[in-house]
Amino acid sequence: MFLACLLVALAGGAVGLAALLPDRADADETLVAASVCEAHELRARQAEDPSLQIQIPPEFDSPWPTRAACLSHAAAMDESTPGPIQPIQFSHKHHAGLYQIDCQYCHSGTDRSPVAGVPSVELCMGCHKQFPPTYDELEGIRTLKDHWKLQTPVEWVQIHRLPEYVQFQHQAHVRKGIACQSCHGKVEEMDKVYLVPDTKWWPWLLPTQKLEMGWCIQCHRANGASQDCVTCHY
């Protein structure tokens, strides 16, 4: 499942970038990169097909943003993959996956509070303001910096949503060592986060979907957690 989506993402990214490239009229024409990401892409193509003549202008001859960043960024705005388009092309795969940033570095308070919390623009900028300006060619980075400049918040689209009559306690689950992935899916492998479908079956052969009550209860029963109604409903 996840592999499939990963491939889709990669392909999407590649397609997205390919679209940026000047299409090759005839073989002996040299391809000129118009951005760092394009440069990465051209190098990759040349690796496949050495005959290809490419030219990287010096201003685009930079390791930053990395090719992975370019691909993730492109994948995060790919509408063909599941999940809503977010205001910023933020890739959990890139941050939590590739760079191994701990979930609670950004979602701090998850172990102290009922709610996980979403990082502030300040927190994002904490790292990103140190990055070379070439990163600005990524739309997501520009959007982020605009928000910081204008001091306006980012309006993320909520994906994992419980009804308001459910009082979920992140701290209890995190402290018990329940992996974030068991409810949120392998976000560290997603460029664009989406609700990973998950179905459990009751003994009477009835399915219960992710984030439905039965889905929670089965886990609670399996782990001997509370099945008292007011644990979640009050």
Partner: protein, 457 residues
């Protein structure tokens, strides 16, 4: 023996002559034919009221139960009252069909069909109120023990669950009972109807031919259904009464409730049969089939049950006094002399006092009187439920939280609608199905005839 000559055999071959139809068929099927202006007017009126009530109900679902007259702490009102009322009405049918069948009371034949029809219609009417009175009808499926993703079941200790099961069972069984009884008559209608009715009756009568095999299974089924329906009819209103009896509300919490309610149900049921059948008999000239003798028998039942009900009223007050429980005594005192005294005395007069006139044979056989009385009894029985439910809730254990309830116009509209609903279904039934059990009437007729015939020998 030697074979008969061929020509004689040939001579025998001739078409079967179409037999003249029997009077019984003609009289009773005539009810279903044609419809007077009055009929259409009546039907139109009742349908209009159903529509009105439907509108009110939709508004209530949209706006909230607050449009009803509820006041803390009286959280059950006219809806539950009317629910219990209709469940009560439903009882006469099964009683007449089942119990009298078991007791081989042949006089039931003339009225059991209409009574059964009434039962089914009344139960359907009653069942709607369970939905009308809940706060979140769109979630009311929670009450069913169906397998769900939550893994959560229902509370079988709750009288409301018992209700759900009792009402469902009662509705289903009465429909089966009614239908099984109808099959032979539908065959009769099939043999004489034309056009769409022919088709309808052919389908419904399942190709009934009145063979011995069919009659044998039919008799046996009716017997068993009666055997099942008899305890059922007693259980259903007992269960309904337990909605109140198992609670701790002063005025509700009484062991006498089950028999009290069952008697009351039969009482009101018979009254309703009279209210419906007297006009029908008059309009369709069925005096020959539904005779004063039938009415008199029903009056006897009404008298009997009236006495039981009256006794129950007395017993309640006696127990309240004898128990020495102050909250009970207060509840009953307020019932008789408190804000609801009018309802209480209406109930006592209509259910306990007026029916005593039936001791006189003259009145038992006086049809107009019976009609008026039956209507009064229906009113009285509605108020009985009103008195029990409302007075019980209005003054409970905590005097600081007493409240006085009066139904709102919206509520009364829906209640009126329920009567219209009952009426329009019954009117339609009159025109589609034989209102008297033809086959059973014939059974008696033919027996008498053959005995007379045997006498000649």
């Amino acid at each position: 023996m030697t074979p008969p000559p061929a020509e004689s055999v040939a001579a025998m071959i001739r078409p079967v002559p179409r037999a003249p139809d029997s009077k019984v068929n003609r009289d009773l099927l005539a009810v279903m034919e044609g419809a007077s202006l009055g009929y259409w007017a009546l039907l139109g009126l009742s349908v209009a009221f159903v529509g009105l009530a439907g509108g009110i109900w939709i508004y209530q679902v949209y706006k909230g139960l607050g449009i009803a007259g509820y006041i803390h702490p009286v959280f059950w009102g006219a809806y539950i009252v009317t629910f219990v009322f209709w469940v009560g009405i439903a009882h006469a049918g099964t009683l007449i069909s089942a119990i009298l069948f078991l007791f081989r009371a042949k006089w039931r034949n003339a009225i059991n069909r209409s009574a059964e029809a009434m039962t089914v219609i009344a139960v359907l009417t009653a069942a709607q109120f369970l939905g009308i009175h809940v706060g979140r009808i769109w979630k009311s499926y929670f009450i069913l023990p169906y397998p769900n993703q939550r893994g959560l079941w229902v509370n079988f200790k709750s009288p409301l669950l018992w209700d759900t099961f009792a009402i469902t069972t009662y509705a289903t069984t009465s429909i089966v009972f009614l239908y099984v009884g109808l099959i032979p008559d539908l065959a009769i209608a099939r043999d004489r109807a034309v056009g769409w009715r022919k088709l309808l009756y052919s389908v419904l009568s399942l190709g009934w031919q009145g063979t011995s095999r069919q009659w044998k299974s039919h008799n046996r089924s009716v017997l068993h259904l009666s055997g099942l329906a008899t305890p059922l009819v007693l259980s259903v209103h007992s269960v309904v009464s337990w909605d109140f009896a198992v609670s701790i509300v002063p005025g509700w919490h009484a062991t006498i409730f089950a028999p009290y309610f069952v008697a009351g149900a039969i009482f009101s049921g018979f009254a309703m049969v009279l209210t419906m059948m007297i006009p029908v008999r008059r309009i369709y000239g069925l005096e020959g089939y539904i005779t004063n003798y039938h009415f008199e028998n029903m009056s006897r039942f009404i008298l009997l049950t009236s006495i039981i009900v009256a006794y129950a009223y007395g017993a309640e007050y006696f127990m309240a006094w004898y128990s020495g429980v102050e909250s009970e005594q207060t509840a009953f005192y307020r019932r008789a002399f408190g804000p609801y005294w009018i309802s209480t005395w209406t109930m006592i007069l209509c259910n306990g006092v007026f029916p005593q006139l039936l001791w006189f044979k003259k009145l038992r056989t006086n049809v107009p009187f019976l009609f008026v009385l039956s209507v009064l009894i229906n009113i009285g029985m509605w108020f009985e439920r009103y008195v029990i439910i409302i007075t019980g809730l209005s003054s409970e254990y905590d005097p600081a939280a007493w409240g006085i309830y009066t139904p709102s116009w919206y509520e009364l509209g829906i209640v009126a609608g329920s009567f219209a609903f009952f009426a329009h279904l019954f009117l339609i039934f009159l025109k589609i199905f034989p209102v008297v059990a033809i086959a059973e009437v014939k059974e008696i007729a033919i027996h008498e005839r053959s005995h007379a015939h045997a006498g000649e020998h």
